[in-house]
């Protein structure tokens, strides 16, 4: 069973030591003799979400043989080919002298407005470093919870406690006020083929947002299937985070079914409720544009604000003519560019004040 747990861990099921122990205990209670008992003992203790269930079924079939798991769809095996970035353009990362810094600053200024799709790997690396430094602190919103405060409403509980401590003498009125927390941002990044030149940079932007507000940011990749990549992006190091994301996303550079994916996103719960939802996509919809339109209507009713970032918006003479884009636009609060460092800075700024 320890070997089975290792298989599960490799497949991404959270089968840690504690869970393995629980599985053993469960198996004992069920009389570990038959496969059925082992299957349920493991499934009930090792899994932590619906995404884990098909993985668990696959591992179970692979490890114990036979095919108990029924409708588990085998996930397509996708080999992700990604270009590795040269650590530095000219290779002269020796001593950081004043001139080198000045040169860097000048170069960044030039790079700021360039399209990331037309950059050399070295320039891209530079831009990615800059994106890593972006800060998008959110304007706080008031929550329903109270915290002790020097002003605000009277806090009867604490006042009373204090009063009792002083033998019934009301010496000071204690107050409480609403706590504040940042507004949630949900980012949907299109990773389909047509977005390939931008997806990497967009995900790095997402990484910067997650790093900045880890508890108020959610990121999903969208292509032919919706994947939550927030946990992968929690990694401190951008390179490691990107590696984890590419391992997690199964539909890299495939087609786009935005309408369906958006529907799944909205059906899966109300992550979008009250949040700022950013869709980063070129709006090339393979599916039915009217479905996308309906889902966008739903989204606009749920979300605090819907922002659509389209890399092509930054190009001169761009007109939103694709069916998907046209269906979506009526429900978009802000339609912005997403092709250059400057565009990302602007977007981060917008998220801070939305």
């Amino acid at each position: 069973m320890v070997g089975f747990a290792r298989t599960l861990r490799a497949a991404g099921v959270p089968a840690d030591h504690e869970r393995t122990q629980a599985m053993l205990e469960a198996a004992v209670h069920l009389g570990a003799a038959d496969r059925e008992a082992v299957y349920w003992a493991g499934r009930l203790t090792m899994c932590a979400g619906p995404d884990d269930l098909p993985r668990y079924d696959r591992c179970f079939a692979a490890y114990f043989g036979g095919d108990r798991p029924g409708p588990g769809r085998p996930a397509p095996v996708v080999t992700v080919v990604r270009h590795t970035l040269a650590p530095d353009g000219d290779g002269s990362s020796g001593d950081a002298s004043r001139e080198a810094l000045a040169a860097t600053a000048g170069r960044t200024e030039v790079l700021r407005h360039r399209d990331v799709a037309r950059m050399t790997p070295a320039e891209l690396a530079e831009v990615h470093r800059m994106i890593g430094l972006l800060r998008a602190r959110r304007e706080p919103r008031r929550s329903r919870r109270f915290a002790p405060s020097t002003r605000g409403r009277l806090d009867p509980r604490r006042t009373m406690r204090e009063t009792l401590r002083r033998g019934g003498e009301i010496a000071r009125l204690r107050r409480r006020s609403r706590r504040v927390r940042p507004r949630r941002v949900v980012l949907l990044v299109d990773v389909s083929g047509s977005m390939a030149p931008y997806a990497d940079t967009l995900l790095r932007f997402a990484h910067a947002l997650v790093r900045c507000e880890p508890r108020a940011t959610e990121v999903f990749s969208v292509g032919t299937r919706l994947t939550r990549v927030t946990p992968a992006l929690r990694h401190r190091d951008p390179g490691a985070a990107m590696r984890e994301v590419s391992a997690a996303v199964p539909d890299w550079r495939g087609g786009t079914r935005l309408g369906e994916e958006l529907k799944r996103f909205l059906d899966s719960g109300s992550t979008a409720r009250g949040a700022i939802v950013v869709i980063a996509s070129d709006g090339w919809e393979r599916g039915d544009p009217s479905l996308l339109g309906r889902q966008m209507a739903r989204l606009s009713r749920l979300a605090h604000r819907v922002v659509w970032a389209n890399p092509h918006k930054g190009h001169e003479g761009y007109e939103p003519l694709t069916g998907g884009m046209r269906a979506a636009l009526p429900y978009v609060g802000a339609f912005v560019a997403g092709h250059s460092l400057a565009a990302f800075e602007e977007l981060a700024e917008r998220l801070s004040h939305a």
Binding site: A22, E25, L30, R43, L44, C47, G49, L164
Partner: protein, 325 residues
């Protein structure tokens, strides 16, 4: 937790809290189901209370009872998560204590609170009768933290009641800080009240935690629990559920209603109907006099019991999804 146990406070409260204070070793977790030796036997018991559980769910409940772990249920709205907790309570002959979660729920609303108004009254009364002297004051102060001034909220109530089924409903609606707090209560089934001592459950309650997945629940909490994802029931079981819950329903009608519900679930609606909605719908059809077949007119008239979005109703009517396939 702060183990601030003041001996005299504990003894003062001992009579009121009774057996709940102190002895923590609930060695046997038989709680009236000691005869249940297998998931199938438990499924039969649930069945006797008109809840038809699949193999996975029955196994999950069985293990929750045997291992003394909370059962974490996820699934679409209306698949019977809350209903399961109610039925478990009925099977065990235990009261169901429900904690409905919402944003901003805090310890005072979930655990206990002091009844400040009564405490103040007590002080005033003592003042009026002229209590004097240091000894008198100390006694008075002790009295203020008496059990009778403590308002037990669901979690404390669940620890004090034996046996009990505790339903923590829609945990995903509470803030994530609340999860950490709940984890603490659920891992040692004890609550320490600074002024009173530690209240420990003589017999840990059976805990059912439900979530609709509107946000991710922290892994630490899930690790404490047995996790089960509840699906919509397969066709045969849904028919059986309809027949069990609505004795007036004919087999033919139940089959057609279940088939229609199954079709709607794969039709890509905003809110596909759950078992709860199917039951409502069948009930509405019966009330309007449906006998042994799904009359299209009646079906359309009662659609509001099944589908709660206007868009969905329009989609269904336009595509003729109610008609018998």
């Amino acid at each position: 937790m702060v183990p601030a146990v003041v001996p005299e406070a504990v003894s003062a409260v001992g009579s009121a809290v009774g057996s709940a204070v102190g002895s923590g070793e609930g060695a046997d977790r038989g709680r009236g189901v000691s005869g249940v030796s297998s998931p199938a036997a438990l499924a039969a018991l649930l069945d006797a209370h008109a809840y038809l559980a699949g193999e996975g769910l029955a196994t999950a409940c069985f293990l929750a009872l045997k291992m003394g772990r909370p059962l974490f249920l996820e699934g679409e709205a209306g698949v019977g998560k809350t209903e399961l907790a109610k039925t478990l309570a009925a099977v065990l002959g235990a009261p169901l204590i429900r904690l409905q979660c919402y944003e901003g729920l805090d310890a005072a609303q979930a655990l206990y609170d002091w009844d400040f108004a009564r405490q103040l009254l007590h002080l005033k009364a003592a003042e009026a009768t002229g209590a004097t002297g240091a000894a008198e004051a100390a006694r008075l102060e002790g009295e203020l933290y008496d059990r009778r001034f403590l308002i037990a909220r669901p979690l404390l109530r669940a620890l004090e009641t034996r046996p009990a089924v505790l339903l923590v409903d829609e945990i995903d609606r509470a803030d994530d800080e609340f999860e950490a707090f709940l984890l603490e209560v659920l891992s040692d089934f004890s609550i320490s009240i600074p002024e009173l001592g530690t209240v420990r459950a003589a017999e840990p309650p059976v805990v059912v935690v439900t979530s609709n997945r509107t946000r991710d629940v922290h892994d630490a909490l899930k690790r404490r629990c047995l996790y089960h994802w509840l699906e919509h029931p397969p066709f045969e079981r849904e028919v059986a559920i309809l027949l069990r819950r609505l004795p007036a329903c004919s087999e033919a009608l139940a089959a057609q209603v279940a088939a229609a519900a199954g079709r709607l679930r794969s039709a890509g609606l905003v809110k596909p109907p759950g078992v709860a909605e199917t039951l409502d719908w069948a009930g509405a059809l019966l009330t309007l006099g449906a006998r042994d077949h799904l009359d299209p007119g009646l079906a359309a008239a009662t659609l509001g019991a099944l589908l709660k979005y206007r868009e969905d109703q329009q989609t269904v009517l336009a595509n003729g999804l109610l008609r018998h396939a």
